[in-house]
Every structure is written in structure tokens, then in C-alpha cells.
Symmetry: C2
């Protein structure tokens, strides 16, 4: 069921400083910041040959990464996103196996314009998993 790793998301308290450190210190290609108010984050992508890293900074009062940054003030790895071919089939299979899908279980349109779902980290060994239909 799991396909490619679409991205690894890292929450950071200061996006400009993190982007500069990936660009200048680590020598990676980093895109310009993109505000996604409907997702409560501003994002840059670190483009790597086989996948990408998303650096996320909270945007607005209801940011879904605010609690994570309150617990991890330096930042840290927030989630991993896997591609799936059929997100509704994936959801049904996961539910049947007893895994919890976050929210109301209906896919939302994610940062890349594709349907996404998140799985409960307690059901996957402390890792927040995003599934994205491609």
C-alpha cells in the first residue's frame, strides 16, 4: 500500500533561519516561502534528488504545529508523508486493521493540492503519518 516517501516534514520556530541553514550550511536547494493560511503553516521545500523535506513554521492562531513547537521549542521532525494510489481504499483498510484516522476520516486537500489523511501517532509507534493520494 505505501508508495514513495513524498516528504518528511520538520517544524521549526523560525523559517527564515532554518531555510538559510539548509541553503547555506547544508548546501541544499530551498524554495521560496509559501504561506498556506488554510493549513496554518508557512512552508519551504528542501529539494533533494529522491524526495523533499518540508520546513514548516506556524501561521495564524490555530496552527496545527503550535502544540508540537510548544513541546519542542527548537523544532523537530513532525511527520512523514507516504504516497498511496487510492486514499479511500487505504483509509478503509487501515480502519479495518484498527488504526485511527484523524479528523472526520474524509480526506482534505493538502499543501500539494492532493487529498491527504493523517493517522494517529499512537497507532504507529509515535510517528505521525500522512497519506497523500498521487
Amino acid at each position: 500500500m505505501l508508495g514513495r516517501v513524498n516528504h518528511v516534514a520538520i517544524a521549526v520556530p523560525d523559517l527564515a533561519s532554518a531555510a538559510e541553514s539548509y541553503r547555506a550550511t547544508l548546501g541544499a536547494t530551498v524554495t521560496s516561502p509559501q504561506a498556506l493560511p488554510e493549513h496554518g503553516v508557512t512552508v519551504v521545500f528542501v529539494t533533494l534528488p529522491n524526495t523533499k523535506v518540508e520546513l514548516l513554521e506556524p501561521l495564524g492562531d490555530q496552527s496545527p504545529i503550535a502544540a508540537f513547537l510548544a513541546k519542542n521549542p527548537d523544532g523537530g521532525m513532525h511527520h512523514i508523508c507516504y504516497e498511496v494510489e487510492d486514499i479511500l481504499a487505504a483509509r478503509d483498510r487501515l480502519r479495518q486493521a484498527g488504526a485511527r484516522v484523524l479528523g472526520d476520516g474524509n480526506p482534505k486537500i493538502g499543501a500539494h493540492g492532493k487529498p491527504v489523511l493523517f493517522l494517529h501517532p499512537k497507532d504507529f509507534h509515535g510517528t505521525l503519518i500522512e497519506l497523500e493520494e498521487v
Copy 2:
């Protein structure tokens, strides 16, 4: 400087249960457990089309992931490993930029038989970064 994401490492308290959940629930290909006493971990690889996820369980009394699991008893994303072409050149460049390389700064032979170094998470927004020469 950064090349491919070689792997994303996830520390788990129970490797057999985690491997089964990636295999049966998430439908991924998972290798057999490999004990790496010199690294203080037992590992399985979740093989994905573009990269891999390493699931790590502590092995022995001096496991380098024991403290992480004490803080995150459910498990969680532990580090991300990027490939570099020349690990000594990467180390020197990072040090010149003020980043801290863990240990004595001499690459060790990692789980894949290649030279590796780890960078201080405080210098990279809370993320533990491994560099592996390929």
C-alpha cells in the same frame, strides 16, 4: 552538498510489533531484523520505492537510542540521513559554518558499512542529521 535522503530512522520500543504494523497494516516490505551490537540497535528496513525507513530498537545497555525512548516511550522519528559524496569535505564545511559534529569528528562505519557522521540537533532546528558517504 546534501544528496539523496538515504533513510529516515524511527526509534520504537518493540521492533517485532512495529515491523508487523508496517508489513500488515501499512502494506510495506519489511526486512528481517538485524542485530547491530556495535551500534547498540536492532534494525529492520521498510523498503520504499525512493528511500527507506529504518525501525530501530535498543540493543544492549549502552544503546544510543535509549535516552530518546525514555523521553518518547511510544517511539518517534529519531533522525534523517542524507547522502554526501565526500564526508570529510562535508565535515570541514559544516565546522567552518559553526555547526557541531558529534563525537570526535572522525567518521564511524555506519549500519550500511559506509562512513557516517552525526550533526548536533541544536544546530539544525531540533533535527538529528546523519551524513553518510556513498
